[in-house]
Symmetry: C2
Subunit: 410 residues, 2 copies
Amino acid sequence: MRCAVVAVGTELLLGQIVDTNSSWIGERLAASGIDSLVQYKVGDNHARIVSIVDRALQEADAVIMCGGLGPTHDDLTRDAIAEVMGVVLRHDEGVAETIRSMFSSRGRRMPDNNLRQALVPDGATIIPQTRGTAPGLVCPVGDKVIYAVPGVPHEMYDMMERVILPDLRRRNGDSGVIVSRVIRTWGESESGLNERLDRVIAELEERGNPTLAFLASGWEGLKVRLTAKGATDGEARELLEEWEERVLDEVGDFVFGYDDDNMEAVVIKRMSELGLSLAIAESVTGGLVSGRLTTIPGASQVLRGSVVSYASAVKHDLLGVPEGPVVSESAAIAMADGVRRLLGTDIGLSLTGVAGPSEQDGQPVGTLWVGLSREGVTTMAAHLRLPGQRDPMRQMAVISALDLLRRTLD
Amino acid sequence: MRCAVVAVGTELLLGQIVDTNSSWIGERLAASGIDSLVQYKVGDNHARIVSIVDRALQEADAVIMCGGLGPTHDDLTRDAIAEVMGVVLRHDEGVAETIRSMFSSRGRRMPDNNLRQALVPDGATIIPQTRGTAPGLVCPVGDKVIYAVPGVPHEMYDMMERVILPDLRRRNGDSGVIVSRVIRTWGESESGLNERLDRVIAELEERGNPTLAFLASGWEGLKVRLTAKGATDGEARELLEEWEERVLDEVGDFVFGYDDDNMEAVVIKRMSELGLSLAIAESVTGGLVSGRLTTIPGASQVLRGSVVSYASAVKHDLLGVPEGPVVSESAAIAMADGVRRLLGTDIGLSLTGVAGPSEQDGQPVGTLWVGLSREGVTTMAAHLRLPGQRDPMRQMAVISALDLLRRTLD
C-alpha cells in the first residue's frame, strides 16, 4: 500500500505557512505500516492540482489531499477531485444542514458561500465534520482512492485518526490492530541510546514487529517509539508491553514519561501528588524554566514563583548569594537556598551558567550549574556541559534542570 | 521562469523532520519574482528521485534539489542528477582538497567516505562550500537547470543567496536588482492593516512594482514586506523608500522595527541607548517576557531581573501588592512599582491576567493587565483582551507588554 500526500495552498508554496500537516501525516502513515511514496505541495490552481493528483494516483494506491476545502472561490480541491474522477459535484443537503446548524448554534446565519462545502463529487462518501464546517471526502477511483481533509490541523488530525488511517490499513490487508507507545527520555544522546539498545534493535529488526524509532525533539527530549501489530488489541498491547519492558531494562534510567507527558507535566504532576511547593532562581535561562512549567494548567498548585536574578547584584541582594564568581557550585547552592527561603517553599531550584556569546567568570560557553535546596535535606548542585549556541544551550538547560529536580522526587 | 523544489530525505517523508527548507526557498523565490510551480518531498531511493526530478524538469524551467549531498551511502542526489543528465560522475580534486583542509584545520583526518562529496556530474559546475563539507551544484540540462544544495539550513541559505537566486533572476531576464524591506508591526490585526493600506495596495497592484505582502508571525508580530525591482540598486532602493514612506503614512503608529529587529531586540537596544534599567513582575506569563528578552545577547545591560509572582501570596509579600483581586488595574500598578523598588531599577513592568483554562477573580480568559512604573513619572496600567487559548494568549501578552514599554521610551 503506497500513499502520496498532496498539500494544497498557494500560501504553502510562498513559504507563508510551513507545511507541518504533511509531516504529521507521514509520521502517522509510518506508524500504521503504510509506505509514504512522495509528498507534493501545489498552489490554488485548478489545472495544476488536477495534473498532480492524476499523476499521484498513477504511482500510488492512495492519495491524501490536505487543504482547499474552505468556502471561498480559491478552495479548489472538490472541483479537482470531481475532474480526476470524471464526475459532477452534487449538493448534499445533509452536509448543508449540518453547516447551517453549526452557524445557528453560534447565533449566526450561514453565508451562502458555505454551501460550496456541501458539494460532493458523485460517488464519493463524506467524512462527517465534527470540529469545523468542511466535511472530509473518501473518493474511490477504480481500486484506488483519494481522501480529502481540511488544512486546519485539528480538523485534519481528527479525520485521519477516525476514518482514513483505519481505512488505509483495511485496504492494506491489515485486519489486525496497531498500537504504539512513545517512551520519553532525557540524559543520553541518540547514539548513546542506540548503542545501549543495540541488541534489542537487532532482535526487533529480525522479527519486524514491533518496530522501534528514535525521534530527537529538542527540549521535549529524545523519544523512543515502539509500534506493535497484533490480530487483536489485546495481542498488540501484550507485544508492546513485552518489548517496552526490554527497552526499559536497557535505558530505563533515562525515562521520564510516556506518550504526551512532557518534562514539565511530569514534574508538576509528581510534585502535586507529593504536596510539595517550588521556587526557582534563574540566571542563564532568564525565566524560561518558569515559563515552561507554567504552560501546564495546574502549575499554580506547585510553583509559587521565581526570581530571575540576571544581574549579579540581584543574586547578592535578593537571594543572599555571597560575593564571588556567580557561575559556580557555591553560587548555585546559595541561589537555590535563597529563593526557597524568600518564597517560603519546600524546594528551591536554581540555574546559573554561560549561554554566550562569550565566557564568564573564566567558565566556557555551555557551562551550567543547577542547584537544588530542600528543607531538612542536604542541598546539592550538579555541573553540566551543554552545546555552545545560545538558544540550544538555554533549552537544554531547562530540560536538564527539570530532570534533575524530577530525579530527587522518587 | 517556473521553479520546482525537490526536498530529498526519507526522514522528511516519515515526519521525523519538518521540511522548513522548502518553505524558506518558496519565500525567497516569491521575493525574487520567480514562479513556484510545485514542491516535492521524496525519500532516499535512487529510482524515485530520478523519476521525480525527470518529471519536475519537464514542467519547470529550473529544479532546486535540497538534501542528499552528505558523505554516506544513502546520499543519492549526485548519482540521481548524473542519471537525469545522462553523464558520469567525475572526481573533482579541487573539491577533495577543500574538504581535506577543512578536516585538517580541525586536527582531523578526512574519512574516505567524504570523497563521495568530491564527485561532480560531468558538465556541472560547483557552488563552492563555505560552511560545510558539501559543495552545491549547478547542472545544465538543455536550456533548463538543476541546482543541488545541502539540506543543512545555514549551508543552503548561503548558496541560495550567493549563487542560485542571482542565477535564476539572470535566467529570468531580470538584469535589474531586487531589494526588499520588512516593516514589523504590532497592535493592529492583519485585516485592520489591510483596510488601512487599502489605497496603497490598490495602487501597487496597478503598478506591479513594488509588491506588498503580509506575513503573520505570532509573537514575532505582523510583518509587511515590500519588494522593489529596479535597473540599479539605487533605483530599486529609491522606489522602496518612496513606498515605505507611503506605508508608514498609513500604519506608522504600529511599526516597531525593520527586517530582523524583533520586539525584544528593539526594546533592549532603545533602553541601552537611554541607559535605563528594567525589572519585570510576571504572573500570567510565568517568566516568558524575561525569557524572551534574555534571548538577546546584551540583555544584561538592561534587565536586572524579574520576579515571577505566580502565587498571590508572592505578589503580596514580595512585591507589596495590597490584598484584593490580583487581576486588576491596581494589582498591575502595585506589581510594577513593587518590582522596580525591590530590584532598584529605573523602570518596572508587570503582567497579570487570565490564561485559562478557567476564569479568575471574575475576569474572563484572555484578560491582561500590563503595569508600568517609572521613577518620577506617573505609573500607568493598560487593559487588553487577548485570544482565549492558553499558549497564544501568553505569547500575545509577551509582545503586547513589550510594545507598551517600547511606546513609553520615545
